[in-house]
């Protein structure tokens, strides 16, 4: 068995190794370059990533106190130059680099930061042309946000004075260089917007290196310019590149002098403009009067005015002609109508009923004659019949029979006695003879069967 004391705890070993790293003077301030991968920024602000090249890699940590000074935003795949120290993270036993400074490899840090911010704000639409406010044509108050001691303010004031002495200027002083420049510019923009005195703002400074102008490339400045209700002309004296502020501004001028020129019109130009309008007014009114006069003359010269009689003569003639035409038309109409009337009348005469009447009368007479003839015929026949019937009737009359010796026996009340049974002994009866009556009394009744 070996001595137990030979064995180290993991912790002790790790501590030992860590001490080795920490005491090495080379590892305490080291410069490393490589590519960022697995980049993460914790909500605490600390950055964790892996630095690698094509053969090796090392874990890297950059605490927020250090990474706050980094102007650009590290990204995966970005080549960087790091300065820091190597140490061991005890809980995992891993050695890593604790980064204190970071710079992009190959391109300048400021350039990278500029490009990144530009891309970001562009994406947000902060530079969009639609969002640009119009610069007023005749501002009465011009606000200038710059250093009150720089060359910029001198250029701006002399330019405005020369061009447009009507305008008043208010200077909202701001630092335009150094770490405090950006917040100072932002504050000045905010104050100007609160006070609402100026019609237009010039924000800028004279030329300088990219580091000196850096405030105009900062996000807060760009956002303050974007948020301003007062239109802003940017005036950063920068020869080559455009600052982020220039992109965000409503109008960009290359120099403070140019900005002042953009902000105000030239008084002489204005006078010329007024004169031009005056001339146009005179021309237009002259033209108008001339036109109206010509119109008037043309009217006066017109046929109607020269020969007013002609105006109605023609009408009179027209009237006559019309009347004539009317008369003629009426005559024709009457003639036509009367012709038609006569035609119809003739046709009517042709169909007069007198012939019909004569014929009907003739027919009537004939009919009447026939009727009378037929009637007398019928009457004669009937008379003849009647007489014949009468003679027949006479032949069968009881009176005729009685003339031959027959008589009729009546009981009282003219009842014909047809049987011996109809009368009793003592009844009075009448005997009707052809030439009178006999009143008799029944003495005896003898039936046929009695005898």
């Amino acid at each position: 068995m070996m001595n137990e004391q030979m064995y180290l705890t993991v912790h002790a070993l790790t501590k030992y190794i860590k001490r080795k790293f920490d005491r090495d003077p080379h590892l305490q301030d080291i410069y490393v370059k490589g590519e960022i991968s697995n980049f993460k920024q914790h909500s605490s602000g600390h950055m964790y990533f892996t630095l690698k090249d094509d053969q090796s890699k090392i874990l890297a940590v950059m605490f927020s106190t250090y990474n706050k000074k980094v102007l650009f935003k590290p990204e995966n795949g970005m080549k960087v130059l790091l300065r820091g120290e190597i140490s061991v993270y005890e809980p995992s036993g891993q050695y890593q680099i604790y980064v204190k400074e970071m710079q992009p490899d190959g391109i300048g840090e400021l350039f990278l930061a500029y490009e990144q911010l530009k891309k970001k704000l562009e994406k947000e639409g902060i530079f969009h042309p639609d969002r640009k406010k119009e610069i007023p044509s005749f501002p009465s108050v011009i606000g200038v946000i710059t250093s009150p001691t720089g060359a910029a303010i001198r250029d701006i004031l002399t330019t405005i004075k020369r061009r447009y002495p009507l305008a008043n200027v208010i200077i909202y002083p701001a630092l335009v260089q150094g770490r405090q420049a950006a917040p100072s510019i932002v504050k000045a923009i905010e104050i100007a917007n609160e006070r609402k005195e100026a019609d237009v703002l010039i924000v800028g400074r004279g030329g300088g290196s990219i580091e000196e102008l850096w405030a105009f490339n900062e996000e807060i400045v760009a956002r303050a310019i974007y948020a301003s209700d007062i239109p802003i002309i940017s005036a950063v004296g920068h020869e080559t590149d455009t600052t982020i502020a220039d992109f965000a501004a409503d109008k960009r001028a290359a120099t403070p002098t140019a900005a002042a020129e953009l902000a105000v019109p030239h008084v002489e130009e204005l006078m010329e403009r007024v004169l031009n309008r005056k001339i146009r007014l005179m021309r237009v009114i002259k033209q108008k009067v001339y036109t109206e006069q010509k119109r008037y003359e043309k009217l006066v010269q017109s046929y109607a005015f020269r020969y007013p009689k002609k105006l109605y003569e023609e009408k009179v003639e027209q009237l006559d002609r019309t009347l004539e035409r009317g008369k003629r038309a009426i005559g024709l109409l009457v003639q036509e109508k009367s012709e038609r009337f006569h035609r119809w009348q003739e046709r009517l005469y042709l169909r007069h009923p007198k012939d019909l009447l004569a014929q009907s009368k003739k027919e009537y007479d004939q009919m009447k004659k026939r009727l009378i003839r037929n009637m007398s015929e019928i009457l004669k026949n009937k008379q003849k019949d009647f007489l014949h019937h009468i003679s027949i009737l006479e032949n069968v009359s009881p009176l005729k029979i009685m003339e031959k010796g027959y008589s009729l026996v009546y009981k009282e009340k003219d009842q014909l006695v047809k049987s011996v049974k109809d009368v009793s002994k003592g009844d009075q009866v009448q005997l009707a003879l052809s030439d009178g009556k006999l009143i008799c009394e029944v003495l005896e009744s003898k039936g046929e069967n009695d005898g």
Binding site: R154, P173, I191, M271, L281, V284
Partner: protein
Amino acid sequence: MTKKKELELTFEEAMEKLEGIVNILEDGDVPLEQAIEKYKEGMELAKICNEKLKNVEMQLTEILREDGEKESFVLEEE
């Protein structure tokens, strides 16, 4: 419009009115009498603009102090 009222116009307002009148007249069919009225008004406005441009007062330049008060500002001559 009275003359007094016109004098109260700012240069910008007067200029805008003048431009408006010129445009109306140039655009055409304004009856003659109205056109003459407009012309008179326009000439008056042109006079006002001109006067304003000629008789400018000295430019006023101020600077905002820390305390929020304004004071007049004079460039330091080098």
